[in-house]
Structure formats: C-alpha cells, structure tokens
C-alpha cells in the first residue's frame, strides 16, 4: 500500500510539473510574441499617413492665408484633398471629412482665438499670432474603419518682450527681444535672420542682426534683434515681421521703445 502511494506521488508530481511547464510556457510565449505576430496592417500606415498629411495641409493653408490673406485657403485645400486622397489610395474606399473651427477658443495663454473657416490671426500687437484649427475624420471602407476623428491645430506666436535703445561708443543701437512659440506649446529655435523679412523702426525698414540664447531673465529662449539706429533720438515704434520655416507669417508691433537705464 505504501509502495503504491509512493508511485502515485511520482506520477502526480510529473503531471503537475507538465501542467506548470505548459502553463508558464504559454504565458511567456504569448507575452513575447503578442506584438511580434501582430500583422502590421497596411491600413495603419495609410491612416497615419493621411493624418500627417491633413496636419500638413493645415500648415500649408495657414501659410497661404497669412501670406496672401485668402480666407478660404484651408477650406479650398481640404476640398481638393478629399478628392485627391481617393486617387492616391484608389482601392481602399477612403473618405476624408473635415470641420473647420468657426468660433472662439482659448489656448496658448490667449483668451480668445477667433477662428473663421479654421483660420485666425491677430497681428500688430506686442503678442501676435496666426492659428489654424480643424477636426478631420477618416473612413476606410475596405477594412470597415469608420469615424476615426482627430483634431489638429497649427499655431505661431511672437511676443515682443522688450524694445530698448541705448548708446555705446557714441553710436545708438536698438535691441528688440522677442520669443517665438508654436503649437505644443514649444519654442521655435531654428530661426535665422532670413526668417525676419522686415524689421521696422518708426515705420522704416532696418538692417539688423539676430542672435538666439536662453534668457534667465525671461525664462525663455529669446531672439535678440540688434539694429544700428541713426534716426531721431528715440524710435517711436518697432515692428517685426516673422516668416517661420513652414511659411507661416505673423507681425508684432510695439510703440514703446524705452531707453536702457543701465
């Protein structure tokens, strides 16, 4: 009887061991191969590509609007895009829809961005901005994907932090300190002198130099525009036009150019 019990124990132990091996291996195998075996469906790349292109379209529309003042730019581009995307992916049954923002939104420390046909701008102030906002929907009939919605926005803000004039070695200079931000919000750090097509003092275009650095005073990255000034003692105003690398334009203005007290 005692021998029989011993024999059963070994068999039962082996069976338990087998069950453990199978269970643990199944879990480990499933975990390791879950993503590896998952098919990278083609529609995932298509949806992602259309999404990126739609965001890019907002940029192009905003660039057109800010440079040509065409208020229908984004709407026209989206209408063409809806047709073109079907040609680009003819076999997928793709349908792109859009809704352009048409009311006031609060964002990026601006209390009211008034959109019309997805576009908004406010120029000629200390803080100027250009913005675009739309909600896009994507249907892919071939895989039964419907109602994939996402919201996209493009934003460019320039803020004149200070404009001062000072005398150095019997020459007068004007320095304009400004920060530039885009959607995110994120500072725009890749601007060169060519991104500032027009800098005016007292309404007159000036030759200038630009440098960028981090300022602990402003707690931000600052572009310093330096102008050798030979006009009247104090310039009455300063105006900076910015055209970023996406082609989006904005214009900031101040009528307060103060003398440096240092």
């Amino acid at each position: 009887m005692a021998r029989n019990r011993k024999g059963q124990f070994i068999i039962i132990a082996a069976m338990l061991l087998s069950i453990m091996i199978v269970s643990v291996s199944t879990v480990i195998y499933g975990t390791v191969t879950y993503y590896r075996q998952e098919r990278w469906e083609e529609y995932v790349t298509i949806v992602d590509s259309i999404k990126a292109a739609s965001c890019n379209l907002l940029q192009v529309g905003l660039a057109n609007y800010t440079q040509t003042e065409n208020p229908n730019a984004t709407r026209d581009y989206f209408n063409r895009w809806i047709r073109d995307v079907r040609n680009a992916y003819p076999a997928f049954g793709i349908n792109v829809g859009y809704a352009l923002a048409n009311r006031a939104y609060s964002a990026y420390e601006i209390s009211s961005i008034n959109y019309n046909l997805g576009l908004a701008r406010s120029w000629g102030q200390l803080t100027s901005y250009s913005a675009s906002n739309a909600t896009v929907s994507i249907d892919v009939a071939s895989v039964g994907l419907t109602g994939y919605n996402f919201s996209s926005h493009v934003f460019l803000k320039m803020n004149i932090r200070d404009a001062i004039w000072y005398t150095k070695s019997s020459k007068r200079y004007v320095s304009i300190y400004l920060s530039v931000d885009k959607e995110g919000p994120a500072p725009v750090l890749n601007l060169q002198a060519s991104n500032f097509p027009d800098v005016k003092l007292g309404g007159v275009s000036q030759v200038f130099s630009v440098k960028r650095y981090y300022s602990s005073e402003y707690s931000n990255f600052i572009y310093e525009i330096k102008i050798s000034w030979d006009g009247p003692l104090a310039p009455s105003s300063a105006e900076v036009t910015l055209l970023d690398n996406r082609g989006i334009k904005t214009v900031s203005y101040t009528d307060s150019v103060l003398q440096n007290s240092d």
Binding site: R3, I10, L17, S18, V60, D84, Y89
Partner: protein, 157 residues
C-alpha cells in the same frame, strides 16, 4: 535454515519488484514531461520569416518618412528637388543592411521625373524574395498645395 533461505529469497524478490516499479514510474513520469514539452513545441511555430521581414521593413520605412516629415525636411527635399539630401537622410537613418528605392509621383500616380533615388544594387531588389513597400503622402510645401506620393521600397541585404 530453509526458513531463513526462503525468507531471504522473498525479501530479494520484493526489492526486485520495488526497483522495477521505480523504473516503470520514472519512465512514465519522463514520458509525461516529454509529452508536455512536445505538445508545446508543436504550437510554438514561428511566423513566416519572409512576412515578418516585410512587416518590420514597412514599419521602419513608414516611421522613418514620418520622422523626416515631422522635422519639416521631407517636404523641403521633395519640393526643392534636394534628391541628394533625401538619399543621405534615408541612408543614415536606415539600418546598414537595408536597401531602398524611392519613387515620387503626383496625385494621379504619374512620375514627377526625378533621378534615381536608390541605395543598393538593382540586383538586390530583383532577387530579394521580400520587398516592403510604403506609401506616404506630402500635401505641399510653403503655401502651395501640390500633393506628392512617395513610394519607398525596402529590402534586406
């Protein structure tokens, strides 16, 4: 004396039977464990390596084009005809054993007539059993809407 001999024989027989049983039990236990492992192995069939390669290359290609686009470089390269730059960007970003061929079309799938944008010998593309293809669209550059369809073909060297 006979009694003792008989008793010893019985004990020996009992031990012999006990040892045989141990052997039988061990064999049965081993068979159970081996069966479990064999059962697992039969299910652990890995996916086709060719499909896996293509899928991986598609992911790499799409993510790469997306990253270059996010940096604002893809549209600049395409619309300013900076073919050397786009080739260099792809070469440095792709794994060393991956070769590519990039074709650019307008929205009606007509080639825009660019020079060959390729890394790797044509023979590799002809002979490779698995060629991954990624389609990516760029809608425009600056303030102009003018879509371009990029078709990036990738093979493992």
């Amino acid at each position: 004396m006979e009694d003792l001999t008989t008793r010893m024989t019985k004990v020996r027989n009992r031990r012999s039977v006990k040892g045989q049983m141990r052997v039988v039990e061990s064999i049965m236990a081993s068979l159970i464990v081996i069966s479990a492992v064999t059962f697992l192995y039969s299910f652990a069939a890995t996916p086709s390596s060719q499909a896996q390669d293509t899928s991986e290359l598609e992911k790499i290609g799409h993510n790469l084009l997306h990253d270059i686009d996010e940096q604002g470089l893809l549209a600049r390269y395409v619309y300013n005809s900076e073919w050397a730059n786009i080739t260099a960007a792809l070469v440095v970003s792709l794994p060393t054993n991956v070769y590519f061929n990039l074709s650019i079309y307008d929205v009606n799938h007509r080639s825009i007539g660019h020079p060959l944008i390729q890394y790797g010998d044509q023979q590799i593309f002809n002979s490779s059993p698995a060629v991954a293809s990624v389609t990516y669209i760029v809608t425009g550059y600056g303030m102009s809407y003018n879509p371009r369809i990029l078709v990036l073909k990738l093979v493992n060297g």
